[in-house]
């Protein structure tokens, strides 16, 4: 009987491990395939590889649209992440601590950019920017400013989600204690609230950055002539060529994101936040 229980438990654990492994493999397979492809020698990717080379990596910076796309992407994502997080903090405070009417509605509205399909979001922002430009003659359409504004929208839901999550683990009584000891609301925020929500802040910034960096659909509508972000540059390249340069670019993109995650993990243990 006891043996039966143990075999049952062991079998269950084996089944769990197997299905987790299967899921992980399913996620990793395309990534690994792309990484492998980046080193193939032949111009048209086919199996088996006819040898290995690094020349596709050399081709990446040589390609003007990849180089400038990468720089623009970094620029837009970094600025949008900063603005998005800066907006998300007061929004989260209001959502968790404030006495707002329609709190669930507000929360849903802030999550909206995550829910609406990227193409719809992009088209909507395009129309919005077009109308703004027509009304004010302010050349926002196709400008980097317009692009950053759209990416800020992409960052906000991530930042709000993760900041509110870490904020709700902080007992408001701790903030009261600070005020009781003589801290003004601003000092209380800086010395007590901010350190407590730091993990959520860092994680929110990371996820916002990664999503913004990889965003294609919304950006497609908004880039100006001669300007492309990295994902758009990849798409345009793919339109007429499928040599492993694209795989090499993708590998570089994966490396950028992985490095961002590793750096973040040094400051905040990601396993605790996500």
């Amino acid at each position: 009987m006891a043996a039966g229980v143990f075999t049952g438990r062991r079998a269950r654990r084996a089944a769990l491990t197997a299905s987790a492994g299967l899921g992980l493999g399913f996620i990793l397979l395309p990534l690994l395939l792309v990484m492998w492809l980046a080193f193939f020698r032949q111009e048209i990717p086919s199996f088996p590889p006819q040898g290995y080379t690094l020349r596709w990596f050399a081709a990446v910076p040589a390609n003007r649209s990849f180089a400038s796309g990468f720089l623009l992407s970094v620029q837009v994502s970094v600025v949008a992440t900063f603005i998005g997080v800066a907006l998300a903090v007061p929004a989260s405070l209001a959502l968790v601590r404030g006495r707002l009417p329609l709190k669930p509605v507000m929360n849903t509205l802030l999550m909206l950019p995550l829910v609406v399909p990227g193409v719809v979001l992009g088209a909507a922002i395009y129309v919005g920017e077009l109308e703004t430009e027509l009304a004010t003659e302010w050349p926002v359409l196709g400008s980097v400013t317009g692009l950053i504004a759209a990416h800020t929208l992409i960052v906000i839901p991530w930042a709000v989600r993760l900041v509110t999550a870490s904020l709700s683990t902080l007992n408001p009584v701790v903030e009261e204690a600070a005020k009781n000891l003589g801290a003004t609301p601003w000092v209380t925020f800086r010395r007590v609230t901010l350190p407590a929500i730091r993990p959520g802040l860092v994680a929110g910034a990371l996820f916002g950055f990664v999503t913004s960096f990889g965003n294609l659909e919304a950006s497609l509508f908004l880039v100006g002539p001669g300007q492309t972000t990295l994902p758009i540059a990849i798409l345009q390249y793919l339109a007429w060529k499928i040599d492993p340069t694209v795989a090499a670019v993708s590998l570089l993109q994966i490396v950028v994101i992985a490095v961002a995650m590793l750096i973040t993990d040094r400051f905040v243990k990601l396993s605790q936040v996500v």
Partner: protein, 351 residues
């Protein structure tokens, strides 16, 4: 350290009054306890003193100054919370020094005073720990040190012992009382635990439904309760409902005729009896002699608790001192009990 005066302090939420006209004068160095069931307004009163809740009316004066509308960070009150409320990312020493830092006290003096406060609660050896590395009792003592370090005009304690287990609770409350006396602090503690209230207080305030029901010493509340609520809330008691027939004669709902004092006006009334004031096998000349059937008996160590049925309608709880050795009384036994006429307290009305 200062005198605290509350005058007609009131708080409404919408149309609902949670605190109504609380007036208290707490002299310098007194330990006052606000006692009452949850929702009686005691915590709201304390939070109005700390400045976390804006009163709807009335005033708070601390050391002669009106602080009614001052924000919490500009009042010199030291608060200890039920949930400790330590800053989780700061060490014990940083927690205790926080209030001093806010007061722009230089680093050297700050560290010295923080250590001194920690020494008072015997935790100076754990200054570099983080709160999460400590037990609940230790955390609450750190919170106490943090509140004391700023040398507050008044120490406010909001159910500070409720999260601790029974043994620790006793230890920490004695510690709080000793420190308060040593430092000559004015202190106000909120609690629903009467034993806790009775051990530490110089003076107690019983609150119910947002109002003060009685202010007095432990003895006042226990022996001379102002109303049936206080009588029932402070200490154990049996309430027998019935009528005052004539001065000195109470007739219970079950028809028992009992001699009592203080009952002059005939009419509906209730008689409140403390379980330990009733004794077994009374002398023949006792004022009230009754027989009853034991419905429930429990052995509590120092006392034996008996529930008796005196008539179809009347029940009574009796505590007998445990003398040891004597034959235990069991459910189903019939016993005779009695009490002198000046033991019970009669309150007019049925409510």
């Amino acid at each position: 350290m200062a005198r605290l005066e509350l005058e007609n302090l009131t708080k409404h939420y919408g149309g609902q009054a949670t605190v109504r006209g609380v007036t208290l004068d707490i002299p310098d160095g007194e330990f006052l306890v606000l006692l009452g069931p949850s929702g009686c307004g005691k915590t709201t009163t304390l939070r109005m003193i700390a400045g976390f809740i804006e009163p709807s009316g009335g005033s708070v004066r601390l050391g002669g100054q009106d602080i009614t509308h001052r924000p919490p960070w500009r009042r010199n009150t030291g608060m200890v919370f039920q949930s400790y409320a330590l800053f989780p990312h700061m060490t014990v020493a940083q927690n205790v020094a926080f209030g001093l830092e806010m007061r722009k006290i230089g680093r050297a003096e700050r560290e010295a005073r923080a250590l001194e406060a920690l020494r008072m609660v015997r935790l100076d050896g754990l200054a570099d720990r983080l709160p999460r590395q400590m037990s609940g009792g230790q955390q609450q003592r750190v919170a106490l040190a943090r509140a004391l370090a700023i040398r507050p005009d008044v120490l406010l304690l909001d159910e500070p012992l409720s999260n601790l287990d029974a043994k620790l609770r006793e230890e920490v409350r004695i510690e709080i009382r000793q420190l308060q006396q040593q430092l000559g602090l004015t202190a106000i503690m909120v609690t629903h635990d009467q034993e806790e209230a009775l051990t530490v207080a110089d003076r107690l305030v019983v609150m119910a439904e947002g109002e003060i029901r009685q202010i007095g010493s432990q003895q006042d509340l226990y022996e001379r309760p102002a109303d049936r609520f206080v009588a029932g809330f402070v200490g154990r008691s049996t309430v027998i409902t019935g009528q005052v027939r004539e001065p000195g004669l109470f007739e219970s709902a079950g028809g028992l005729r009992l001699r009592c004092q203080g009952a002059t006006a005939p009419g509906a009334a209730s008689l409140v009896l403390r379980p330990e004031a009733i004794h077994l096998d009374p002398p023949p000349d006792e004022h009230n002699r009754l027989e009853g059937e034991v419905t429930f008996a429990s052995y509590l160590g120092p006392v034996l608790e008996l529930h008796l049925r005196l008539s179809a309608e009347d029940r009574i709880t009796v505590h007998l001192p445990n003398r040891g050795g004597a034959g235990l009384i069991r459910a189903g036994d019939r016993v005779s009990i009695g009490w002198p006429q000046d033991t019970g307290i009669v309150f007019a009305g049925t409510a």
